[in-house]
């Protein structure tokens, strides 16, 4: 069992080619701009309800999903747009879902917290904290039973460490060597409470107690996330069982779009420090230039393109029709 308590992930010297790095950037940028647009939709009162922005955490979703095959499974959370896009979802259909339109991934029935995209192995976001740990573990069990070599990644925030279901699932996954990766994005906060007030002991000791190898790394470094994910995915695919993967990260915005006054639970200065020196997108841009994979011009072209994609997506969604009212009692039963 490969324990790695708090040590940096093992260095993986295999080369990552330039194209892959550019993909990282494009995908992370897409999430960033998508989420900024979501915030705009909220501020302009065009979006029903609320949404939980993924801005600041982009390297996690992208680093992990780039290490997956299209037919691998993921499950996601209330803060799920990033995972969904990283697994390959279309911007148009996502915006349409957020606006409750029939062209959305769920025909407008799911909304921000329930986007599922079966063709790309996305088994759905989940508005119950920890609620998808059973689903991801079950998908892994199913993959094993069917003899496919699919892997399941279960994304959750550190708040889900409070849910007993996670421990029940880790126990079974470890016993039965299921190909599941528990991916804990520790962004420091459970809603409006610092995780240190809700989390006793050491996080990584928890999965390790169930015999599950655990990695704990900087989640702002997409390359490190990707390399680590690749190793864990490989492991799972080979039938060596589950792993637990902690990415240390930060959400730059509020818990949800309406969470504007945050000073009572976290300092402005802390936010500025993360946004300044720990922005995964900026860090990657520096690296791309350093590696000479991209120059300023290429980056700004990518940004322009992505912005167009996002604008086109919103446009599409704004113009899309609502579901017919007769759909209300369709899809209750299959």
């Amino acid at each position: 069992m490969a324990k790695s308590k708090a040590q940096p992930a093992r260095i993986d010297s295999s080369k990552i080619d330039g194209k892959r790095f550019l993909r990282f950037y494009r995908q992370m940028l897409k999430i960033r701009l998508f989420e900024e647009q979501v915030n705009q939709l909220y501020l302009s009162a065009k979006m029903p309800g609320l949404a939980h922005l993924y801005i600041g955490q982009e390297a996690v979703a992208v680093g992990v999903c780039e290490a997956l095959r299209p037919d691998d499974y993921i499950t996601s959370t209330h803060r799920g747009h990033g995972h969904c896009l990283a697994k390959g979802a279309s911007v148009e259909r996502m915006f349409a879902e957020l606006l409750g339109k029939v062209d959305g991934y769920c025909r407008g029935k799911g909304g921000s917290m329930h986007i599922a995209d079966q063709e790309r192995g996305n088994l759905g976001a989940n508005a119950i904290v920890g609620g998808s740990t059973g689903i991801a573990t079950g998908a892994a069990m199913s993959a094993k039973m069917r003899g496919s070599d699919q892997v399941a990644v279960c994304f959750f925030g550190e708040g889900a460490l409070g849910q007993g279901l996670l421990y029940e699932c880790m126990n079974t996954a470890s016993l039965w060597k299921l190909p599941v990766i528990y991916l804990c994005e520790n962004n420091l906060y459970n809603e409006y409470t610092h995780y240190s007030e809700t989390t006793a002991g050491e996080i990584q000791a928890r999965p390790e107690a169930f015999g599950i190898p655990t990695e704990s790394i900087d989640g702002q470094d997409v390359e490190l996330v990707y390399r680590t994910a690749r190793r864990l995915v490989e492991r799972a695919r080979k039938g060596e069982g589950p792993s637990f993967f902690i990415c240390h990260t930060y959400r730059f915005h509020g818990h949800h779009v309406g969470d504007i006054d945050r000073s009572y639970y976290r300092a402005k200065k802390e936010e500025e420090q993360w946004k300044g020196g720990r922005d995964p997108l900026k860090l990657l841009a520096v690296k791309l230039k350093h590696l000479k994979v991209a120059d300023e011009k290429l980056l700004s072209e990518m940004e322009k393109e992505t912005r167009r994609e996002i604008e086109k997506g919103v446009e599409f969604a704004l113009n899309a029709p609502y579901p017919d009212t007769s759909e209300v009692d369709q899809h209750v039963y299959a």
């Binding site: 029935k109 329930h114 079966q118 059973g134 079950g138 199913s142 079974t172 299959a334």
Partner: protein, 336 residues
């Protein structure tokens, strides 16, 4: 009794428990996607011995012993069902469904709808109900009303070995999450069951005994209680029609209402707690649907609204009995 969808010829007498076992075995043979997950389901064949022998035929990969983790095993089945399997999760006592409600209700029941019809969850939860086993308050409940309340779930409640086999096979083939309630006191009940393949469609009530003076609608083992009551009532000159709903969801309102319209009196009998229970829904469906035909209010007989007591002298009072059904029927028919 209505003819089953598909009939086979050789019929033997087997127990309710054997009928369940047979349905599972047949479905597992037919479809390699079907598997069983639960506590002590393999060698032990559950504490009720209902699954005896299955592990021998299908192996420990398809009859899987789990840790004591009702929430997780239910969740695992949801995930497995979403990705191509057809799991049957075994929740030993119906009282333990309390631990699975999030997975069943916030997940399994809603996934098809929330995904706009793309994902589906073809799973079965088998669990038990029923009191008088001297098992006290945490091992005797009949909590089917909760599941019946939740859109997206179906709920089956067989009353005979024949129905148990046919309904369980239908449950396993259904593309939705189905909760299948077995009265643990009925496992030894014997009845005629065809050897081979047949299924019973959901949403079809079954008139277990025809009658003209009063309609008695019942679920699960309360059908047996009502049939016993009907015998007595016959001796008193009251002809009772016994309607078995078989599935509370979907509910065959038409058959219930027609029967009540015909007899002009109705009693609903169920072993869940009375208050806000299954009898309330069925009684109000009948009261509305047969309003202009009823000679008396629809009456409900259910478990007493108390936690199930241990002491036999107390416990026996809390459940409907043939005698309590007879008394109520006599009152309704003006024969007191």
């Amino acid at each position: 009794m209505k003819a089953p969808a598909q009939q086979s010829t050789a019929v033997r007498e087997i127990t309710f428990g054997q009928a369940i076992n047979e349905a599972l075995a047949e479905e597992m043979r037919r479809d390699p996607k079907v598997f069983i997950l639960g506590e002590d389901v393999a060698e032990a064949g559950t504490p009720f011995k209902v699954l005896s022998g299955l592990v021998k035929e299908f192996g420990k990969e398809r009859v899987v012993d789990s840790p004591i983790s009702e929430a997780a095993i239910t969740g695992l089945c949801v995930g497995a069902a979403m990705t191509g399997m057809r799991p049957v999760v075994d929740i030993m006592f119906g009282d333990f469904v309390t631990l699975t409600m999030d997975q069943m209700v916030n997940q399994a029941a809603k996934i098809h709808y929330m995904s706009g019809g793309k994902l589906k969850v073809p799973m079965v939860m088998r669990t038990t109900l029923g009191a008088t086993r001297r098992s006290a308050a945490q091992h005797s409940q009949s909590l089917h009303a909760w599941f019946s309340h939740i859109p997206g779930l179906k709920v089956a409640m067989p009353s005979t070995p024949y129905d148990a086999k046919g309904l369980l096979k239908t449950a396993i083939r259904d593309d939705n999450p189905v909760i299948f309630f077995e009265d643990k006191m009925m496992y030894q009940l014997k009845g005629q069951v065809p050897e081979g393949e047949y299924t019973i469609p959901f949403g079809l009530a079954d008139i277990k005994r025809a009658g003209s003076d009063i309609t008695i609608v019942a679920t699960s083992s309360m059908v047996q209680v009502s049939l016993a009551a009907a015998e007595t009532l016959e001796g008193l000159g009251i002809s009772a029609e016994i309607v078995d709903v078989r599935t509370t969801v979907p509910l065959d309102k038409k058959t219930l209402i027609e029967s009540a319209r015909k007899t002009s009196r109705a009693i609903v009998v169920d072993e869940g707690y009375e208050r806000y229970g299954v009898t309330a829904e069925i009684a109000s469906v009948i009261a509305e649907g047969a309003f202009y035909y009823l000679d008396a209010p629809v009456k409900r007989i259910a478990a007493m609204d108390v936690p199930v007591p241990f002491s036999p002298v107390l416990e026996d009072q809390t459940v409907p009995t043939p005698q309590s059904v007879v008394e109520m029927a006599k009152t309704l028919c003006g024969k007191v």
